[in-house]
């Protein structure tokens, strides 16, 4: 990439040679922190996830420290954030027993949000959930939560009955409805929960890579026309970054809302 690589931070692995073009799944390959130690699992994404968790824990501890009756600015911000999730997501979806699930929802929202913002943060530049495994992990947590909540409320038998046999369906249709409901409630729900988060961040970041790497390659080319197109492409990368910020926050919200909705549907008395 030559001297331009020093000026413009390169997405998708510093050198940015021809084999990095076109960007694809390989642009998201994890980089081990210690390449010589043989610990490939200890990579940048794991570090980001751990740092994200630490940030979330420390931030909420800091918000919760010496609270006063008349809140200062710090406490006010913390309460606004907390209320947004507790009232806007938890109470709307879960009804009267939302208190039990508020800690999980708050932790989930802030963890996803912080990890999505890592995609725009200049040191990391990759959202953690652009690796599908991390998204599967979170979806597994939510899957366990909504099933456990339903089983704890109804007992195993009537929970399965609630989830697979909707009220008002004629018994003849059970032969079609039961496999469909099992597919929808126990297989499609957690998988789409994970893949929605992953696909949005992966595809969004791929667009950023196309604009930034493609733009800098065009700037390096001989033709003046290509250079102009490269400059325009680099400028276009900034609105895309703005869009990515918005999408990161939106996906954190949607993941949390859907988790709350799934919990609500499994603790509902009536399907």
């Amino acid at each position: 990439m030559g001297r331009l690589g020093l000026i413009i931070p390169m997405e998708g692995g510093g050198e940015g040679d021809a084999h990095h073009w076109p960007p694809g799944v390989h642009s998201f390959d994890p980089k081990p922190l210690f390449p010589d130690a043989g610990m490939d699992w200890l990579n940048t994404y794991l570090l980001q996830a751990v740092i994200g968790a630490l940030i979330v824990i420390l931030l909420w501890l800091w918000f919760a420290k010496d609270q006063k009756i008349v809140p200062g600015f710090k406490q006010w911000i913390g309460e606004q954030l907390y209320n947004l999730i507790r009232n806007g997501i938890g109470r709307d979806a879960l009804g009267p027993d939302y208190h039990k699930y508020t800690p999980y929802l708050v932790a989930l929202f802030s963890f996803i949000l912080v990890n999505n913002l890592f995609g725009q943060f200049f040191l990391s530049m990759f959202p953690t959930f652009s690796r599908v495994g991390y998204a599967y992990g979170l979806a597994l947590l939510s899957f366990i939560l909504y099933n456990a909540a339903g089983i704890a409320k109804h007992g195993l038998g009537s929970y399965l009955k609630l989830m697979t046999m909707p009220k008002g369906v004629p018994p003849l249709l059970y032969i079609i409805i039961i496999p469909l409901e099992i597919l929808s409630n126990f297989i499609v729900r957690p998988i789409t929960l994970a893949l929605r988060l992953f696909a949005n961040l992966f595809a969004g970041h791929l667009v950023v890579i196309v604009f930034v790497v493609g733009g800098s390659m065009l700037l390096e080319s001989a033709s003046v026309l290509y250079k102009v197109a490269g400059g325009a492409s680099l400028l276009m990368a900034f609105p895309i970054f703005g869009l990515e910020l918005f999408i990161g926050a939106l996906q954190a919200y949607i993941f949390t809302v859907l988790t709350a909705q799934y919990v609500a549907s499994s603790i509902a008395d009536d399907h």
Binding site: A18, W21, P22, V25, D92, A93, S184, V188, R189, I191, T192, L193, L195, R196, A199, A203, M217, L218, S221, Y226, I254, V257, L258, Q261, A264, S265
Partner: protein, 74 residues
């Protein structure tokens, strides 16, 4: 020399682009209905939104299955 005119890759991505049309229209219809309903009856917003999120999740599942298949089937 840049390999600009050389197009390689998988047609799956074009197929995925086509596959997003349906879920796109579906998600738009879900939220358009919510906006209409909220405009007519603002106090029903909570009840409308909770149904809408489930509907949105079901409709968007098609787009998500699409992107998974676009990468999985070579």
């Amino acid at each position: 020399m840049l390999p600009i005119m050389e197009i390689t890759g998988s047609l799956n991505m074009v197929g995925y682009g086509l596959a997003t049309i349906g879920p796109g229209i579906g998600v738009a219809m879900v939220f358009a209905a919510v906006i209409n309903g909220t405009a007519r009856q603002p106090e029903a917003r909570g009840a409308l939104m909770s149904t809408a999120w489930i509907g949105f999740a079901v409709v968007e599942a098609l787009a998500i299955i699409g992107i998974a298949l676009a990468f999985a089937i070579q």
